[in-house]
Symmetry: C2
Subunit: 314 residues, 2 copies
């Protein structure tokens, strides 16, 4: 796979060619391998897009910098993952460009460590493709997953400010991460207040998610706890999903257990029970919500806390 093949010194065309190879290879394959190849293809294409974007937008800045983000123009990434990342941060075109230009892209394979526990945290990382987790290993060998990151999430918006990484951040699947080294980040932060705001908001959002999980861990039974995270993931992956829609969630039951503070065995049983009640279904990375409303009610899940833009009712 991508192992060992360097991405950073290749031209966009090469990357696209590699991606095409992956896609062709995928046709003849089946199951997990196929998914893997397609995922890699996506990452490669994304990387190519990124290169093109960085080069093409390096020059014509002052003239294309409309006050609000333009839907047309040189930016070909509006609907790509990078686009989603950026639109969530709600930055001006200028700020976007400054941010992305300072970034270095890197791919990680499953279980690769992006940032080790206890080390100095000298770069801001953002996840563009794949999935990642932040976890802590206790003395007994127990593992607790603290956060699961999906494309568009910042991995350490708070830690980069405090300067230390309190958890290990590692990839759940092949992932693409944009990293901004500390010194470049520093200058971005001093000159671009809206980037500070955006990172502050990311920090607050991450904290919101952790808070909900905390409440679940403290006071909900296993079933509601599990149901809640499934709601959360479904919503984060696809806000407007209808009953019966499926989303890809690259987690095993063991990882769910480490996330929920349960044993894998129990996760399995609870999952079966939820399936039996025809509320949700989750197996080998495929999540289907059958009765969204019932599930939300059962899990006491209110997507409010995941909203990035504030709705302005009452």
């Amino acid at each position: 796979m991508l192992h060992g093949l360097s991405i950073n010194n290749r031209k966009p065309e090469e990357l696209r060619a590699l991606a095409r190879d992956r896609r062709e290879l995928a046709i003849s394959k089946t199951g997990r391998l196929k998914a893997l190849l397609l995922n890699e293809a996506k990452l490669l294409e994304f990387h190519a897009d990124l290169r093109i974007w960085m080069v093409s937008s390096a020059r014509p800045l002052s003239e294309s910098a409309l006050p609000s983000r333009p839907e047309t123009g040189l930016v070909p990434l509006r609907h790509s993952t990078l686009g989603r990342l950026m639109s969530r941060m709600a930055l001006s075109a200028e700020d976007e460009q400054a941010l992305i230009s300072a970034a270095r892209a890197r791919t990680f394979e499953r279980d690769d460590v992006v940032l080790a526990e206890g080390g100095r945290c000298d770069a801001l990382h953002m996840l563009c493709g794949g999935a990642a987790r932040a976890s802590r290993t206790l003395e007994g060998g127990n593992l607790q997953i603290v956060s699961v990151f999906l494309p568009g999430d910042a991995l350490n918006p708070g830690d980069v400010l405090l300067g230390r990484s309190p958890t290990t951040i590692s990839a759940l699947t092949s992932s693409l991460v944009l990293s901004i080294p500390a010194d470049e980040l520093r200058s971005l932060l001093t000159h671009r207040p809206s980037i500070v705001r955006a990172l502050w908001r990311e920090t607050a959002l991450l904290a919101s998610i952790q808070r909900e999980r905390l409440i679940g861990l403290g006071r909900k039974a296993a079933e509601a706890r599990l149901a809640h995270v499934l709601c959360e993931f479904a919503y984060r992956l696809q806000k407007d999903a209808r009953d019966g829609d499926a989303v890809e969630l690259p987690l095993t039951q063991v990882e769910l257990a480490d996330l929920l503070g349960l044993s894998p065995v129990h996760v399995n049983r609870v999952l079966q029970h939820l399936r039996g009640r025809r509320l949700v279904e989750f197996s080998r990375g495929r999540l289907v919500i059958w009765k969204k409303n019932d599930l939300y009610a059962f899990a006491e899940f209110d997507p409010q806390y995941l909203q990035t833009e504030l709705a302005d009712d009452s």
Copy 2:
């Protein structure tokens, strides 16, 4: 007590007089009532200080504004609670003054609600005296405490940005809260980048604390979980405490239970067990750590995550 007596339209001298009354009254009293009266006296004096500070520093700004915060000069609050709050935020004298001038002070009695769950969150609140908690009540009637706030903490640095209050914030004891309304805050944030930074850092710090608690809830046994929060509180209240020092921690066993996701009965038993091992002692609001190192090790507590200034080793 303070119930019903308006604080906001009194002169500093009056407030000081009231505080003196409280202290005198306290002498003849005993136990809890005494503590209560002393606490109120402190709050009143604090309030008086605040008034004086605001008036006296309203004018001579540009001349007294040294680049870094001056140890001398007009500021009489360096060692008061307000001083600690400010020094933690590490703002310049100008920013400090702008922040405090925009604030309105208010006192709350035990169980008074500062900010209700689900409501719009239209002010930034900072705790100057007393203690407070953020909690969520579930449908079953179960309560989970999400955060405990001590003097100097911001109560909702993240929520004020996201615009909604996801938890109920209420006072644990008579407390004094500085509040900055949203519109004043907005203008502070646009004109004073270091205030944004400070609030971002507060958000990150709060998230750190929640993360540690999350790890405990997920994967630690009741005993280590309890030991950990006791370490946390002792450290937050008095970083440099020696073995055997006592600190005041205004929590009941029931509240500890709601914080740790345990039953009150079990908290009691675990507390006894820890006391039996001569590690910690906690009763009626008085916390004593007997063997700091042993306790830290047992709880896997590393104060790193509470550090506000980054140590620059390695």
